[in-house]
Every structure is written in C-alpha cells, then in structure tokens.
Symmetry: C2
Subunit: 355 residues, 2 copies
Amino acid sequence: MAPSSPYNALVRRPTLRDVAEGAGVHAATASRALNPATRHLVSRETVQRVDRVAAALGYRVNPVARSLKTARSASIGLIVPDLMNPLFPPIVRGVEDVLLPIGYNAWIANTDNDPAREAATVEAMRARNVEGFVLATARLEHPLIDQLDAADVPLVLVNRRTGRADVPSVTPDDVSGVALAMRHLVELGHRRIAHLAGPQDLSTGVTRLRAFRQALEDHGLEVAPERIVTCKEWSQVAGAEGAGRLLDSGAEFTAVLAGNDLLALGCYDALAQRNLRCPEDVSVVGFNDIPFIDRVSPPLTSVRIPQYDIGAEAARLLLEELRDPGRHPRSIILPLKLCVRGSTATVDPHRERRR
Amino acid sequence: MAPSSPYNALVRRPTLRDVAEGAGVHAATASRALNPATRHLVSRETVQRVDRVAAALGYRVNPVARSLKTARSASIGLIVPDLMNPLFPPIVRGVEDVLLPIGYNAWIANTDNDPAREAATVEAMRARNVEGFVLATARLEHPLIDQLDAADVPLVLVNRRTGRADVPSVTPDDVSGVALAMRHLVELGHRRIAHLAGPQDLSTGVTRLRAFRQALEDHGLEVAPERIVTCKEWSQVAGAEGAGRLLDSGAEFTAVLAGNDLLALGCYDALAQRNLRCPEDVSVVGFNDIPFIDRVSPPLTSVRIPQYDIGAEAARLLLEELRDPGRHPRSIILPLKLCVRGSTATVDPHRERRR
DNA sequence: CTAGGTCCAGCAATCGATTGCATCGGTCGC
DNA sequence: GCGACCGATGCAATCGATTGCTGGACCTAG
C-alpha cells in the first residue's frame, strides 16, 4: 500500500493535529487538554471534547516526538552485567514491577561484563533521553559511573557499589550476612574455615572478604592467609579453580565460605573431583541464594539476598531522585538471612583430627 | 547551572548544526556527509572536513530526532514471557550477540505471561518505531500476533509458535526431541511411561504431547489416557501439582516424560513428598536442559535445546525480513540432543512387577 | 557558442508534540 | 465608564535530523 493511498488517512496513526481538527481546536490546545499537568489551562468543555475525539480516533501520543521536544522519555535504563546469572532476573522483576504501573519503562540491557559494551549501551540510552539508570555493574574503580555522577545523571547502584562515596545504592548487608554464615559454621563446630573470595575489584568481593576476616576475629579464630583464595570472577569455573587451589595447597579447613553461590557450585565440583564429600568432609556455605540453588546436591546453605526487593527499592530510590533532583543521595542496605540446608554439617571430630 | 549559562555551548551535546557550522557547510550537507548511504552525494573534501569536525566535537547523531524523521530506530523488541525461567536468558544473549555488532539494539521486555502487559509493551515499542519483534510469548491463539502479522510488522517467533501458519519462527525440533527421550526410556526397559504435559494453549505443550503419543505407538506401547496429565503452566509448582495427581490417581508407570525441566523439578517434589525415589522408583526426563539442571539431585536427564542458537537464528531471520520485506516467510527448526544423566535408570524388574 | 548534463551544496519542508507569548472577550473594582 | 486582570485559546518557534527540490558551477558535445 503506497503512502499516497487514498486510505492513508485511515491507516496512519492519528496525530495530535488530527485530534485537534476533529475537536475544532488548535493543536496546542489539544496538547494541553490531553496532558494532565496542563489540563487546567483549558476549559472544561474543551477538555471533554478533545478527550472524546482522542478516544474515538484511538489517539496515542508519539513518544518519539514528545521526547525530542521535552528531552525526557518516561523510561530508565537497567544495566546488568550478566543476565545468565540467576541473581539478576529477580532484580529486574523488582524494578519493572515498581516502574511499569506508574507509566515508566525500563530498558534492560546486558553488558556481558564488558566495560566497552556497557559504555556503548549507556551512551545509546542517554542519547535516547533515558531519565536515569539502575546499574548492577558497579566496580570499585568505575570511570563511567564517576562520569555519569559528575554529569548529574540520576543513578542508583544495586547489589554492588563503586569506591566513590555518594552514589545512591541498594545493597545487601554483606557484613551481617557473612557474620550469620560464620556463626552458623562456628556453632557446627568448625574452627578452621576457608574463604573463596570473589573478585577484589568489586565491592561485594572486598566487603565479604573483610567481613570474613572480622568474623574470624570476633570468634577468636586464627586468620590464616593460606585459607583465603581469591577468584577472578563470579562463576562456577572460577570457583572450581579457586577451590582446587585451596584444596591442593595443603591448607587445613573443614568448611568453606564461598563469596557467592556460583563459586560454591564450583567448590562442589572441585571437591567431587578430589573424591571429597560435602558436607561430610567439607561444609560449604554460599551467598545470594539464587533460584534453584536449593535443588542442587547437596542443597546449598546460603545467605539469602532479597533480590526482588533490591530491584524494587532501587526503582523507588531512582524515582525519588527524578522527582526531586536536589536531594541528598540516600542508600539502602537490606537485611539478609541465612538459609540452612544440606551443605553444612557438624564437624566430625575424627576427621577434624585427621586433616 | 542555568540553561542560559555562558558555558552552555560547551556543555550541550553538539548537534548537526554545530558540525555544519564548524565545517562551513549547510546542515543538510553535513547530514549527507555523515551518513554512509548518502556520502557519495558530497564531494571528497567536504566529507573529510565534516568528518573531522564531527570527530573533534564528539558529535553523535540524536537517535530521537532521526527516529522522528525516518520512522526507524535501528532497534527491535525482544519480548519474553518470564525472565526468571532460565530458558530465556540464553536466548536473549543469542539475539543480542547477533544484533549489537551491526548497530542494532534489542529492547528486552518481560511480560510476566500477562497478555495485557504484553500488548502494552508491544504498543509502547511500536510507538518508538522498533523495526520488528522477536517474540517468545506465542500462544496458539494469539490475537496480538495475528494483528501484528496483518499489519506487516516484521516478526519472528522463538521457541513457541502460534496456530496461524506463516509467521516465521525458530523452534526446537520437539517431535524428534520427544522421540529421543522416549527411545532412551524404552531402551532402559520402560514400558509404562507417563507424560506431564505442558499447557495446551502453547505449541510446545501440544506438540510434545502429540509426539509423546506418536512415540508410544512407534514403540508398540499402549496409549493410556490415565498416564497423561496436563499442567496449567510451565512451572515447578504446576509440575508438582500435576505429578501429584498422576501419582495419586493410581495410574501405573515407571517413568515420566515431563514437558519441560520445571515440570520435571515439580515432579521431583511430588515424588519426594510421597517417599518415592528417582530414578529407583520412577525415572524422569525433562526438556530444555536449562542452566543448572545438571546440578539438581538427581541430575536431570533432559532434551537439550540450543537456546543460544535459537536466539541467534531468530535475530538473523528478523534481519533478513527487515532487509527485504517482500520475501516469503521462512521458519527454522533446530535439532536437539538428549543429555542422559542420573534421573533415568533401567527399570527394576522386581519393582516393575510390584507396581 | 549553446543546450544539456553532471556534480555538489543549499533551501525549506517535514516528522509530531510542546510551550512561551500574544490575543481576545469578558468581568471586576474603583 | 475605564483600566486591570483573568481565563481560554491560538500563533509560531522549537527540539535535531532528513530529504526532495532547486540552482549554480563546470564540463562536454554538437
């Protein structure tokens, strides 16, 4: 159907001009009548007339034109490092469930942990006038975030934070989470506990490691450097590799606190490869309590993070920022709880002596 | 900083006019010089001059303005029913990995299996001039898809299809997949096999059920209606409920073919609740081989779907459609293979007699 | 020497909505 | 009875890029 078709008028999306014409008013008046914020500038009857015509024609504002004019978009960018990590989908849901009902859209993007891809995505979204970002990709050193913050782009970090101070964020209370896990292990009789630490360029990795050390001290246990191994990334493979190093190093321990669930899974692999059993030989605790982690074998004892709430709170925080930009940045720390499952057991005194 | 700040010129994103001015040409010329498709209309030197100025100013085209004018957007919509289902993230990745390198963006959205939310999202995306859709939400009866198709919106369905014929799609070869799974069970000695069927308003649910019946016939086994139970949705809860009905009905069977992995997990739950063991008492086969399903207990034997490839192929198909809209719709069916794991075992002749 | 053609670049309209300012009729207060 | 004000609406510029058309410069062929 050629654009010059006589039926064109019927096919084309109605524009504001069509509505205005139908209602016998100027487009400006129609615009004001349709917009709740400016409706009061237009007489009662005109508003009704315009509304009726708009409904009859099935008029919907063209967001592209509006966005060009207003430099806004009623949408925000939601950037996650890796959608395949089960941690993130629930966060996405939380964000969406808060934003969608009030007419905001969340544009989801995956960076694949690639800063270049992240920069490109953020740039593309900014060019499309997104009004702010929820970022789940923060590193301790994160030039892009510094730059966005400096440019006063509304921003909320989730899960992880950057080294810079005052970017609003919603994060789990990692310190308490580690403390919970450690108390659990100590109560089971473990004294020599190892830590599979996460990447040390991420706040979560650093914070959990620090909290691990602190917990050891709090329980009067020795802080043995050989029981701490750092993994390059939050993945099962890296976890297996790290746990392998730990096991092969000859370090003595009866339990492992893994920096997150994927590392814990990797730890399972390393144990199995060496014919060690969990929890009989080594207890393992994870972090995040990602979906389905209660179904692995053995079911992983893990620190539960309120993933959905993190997303929801982040969305609310961002909306606050959008509504009143001058406001002092606020961060939220959400409480955690420990889910005890089959991967942790009391330490076997016999084995304990042997190892 | 007020918008009238003297530094405004430095702060503001450079526009095409700025570039044109800097290069001493008209904006139209700058536009043509910058656009590869129209570059040939401009003299060599002018192109170079404009390029240089654009680079110096850090000019980037405003996609909103361009989109308003051209009614295109270099982006497509990617609609999934439920991001929390681990099946979908790999598909998303596949789509992104094909589109991003060629300058297309994928706007991801989650419908939460809600047709209203889906319609709203699709409408919002169309209003933003997305050039096409990859839909993972197809139902057999799907008015929205019919409507999009009728409006000649470029469309590719993934994973599921609609009842209407000629919408291009990329789907797994469900029939062969079921055949593989069934042959495996038969080879293990199973003769009485039950099916936890998926929703019958989805092509996957229907196709797999039909293939299940066919496989029974092919192996000369009885098609016993009491061994077929339908689940309302693809979820663990629905699977547990369905398997519960199956187990409590008194139907006799030694193996269950679950319509997908989540149903299989639910089946595990129902078995555990009744103190039945898998695979000793009942073998279970899943479908999709979602991430981590090899880690559950027992590791699930499942039909592997090339999830990433489904996404990638869908993106390629959509690009083809965009490049030459007249073309006849083409669909792709991807081959599957069976991953045999711990949830299936030879049927125990003793138990077989007993049940 | 001129008609016709090619190449290059500018002009101006356009996409669709928003918004500061002007206008106009009418009311109110003095 | 007149200026001030107010409420309602229209006018026109604007956001930033694209593109059909026009026209000038220059070349070539007849």
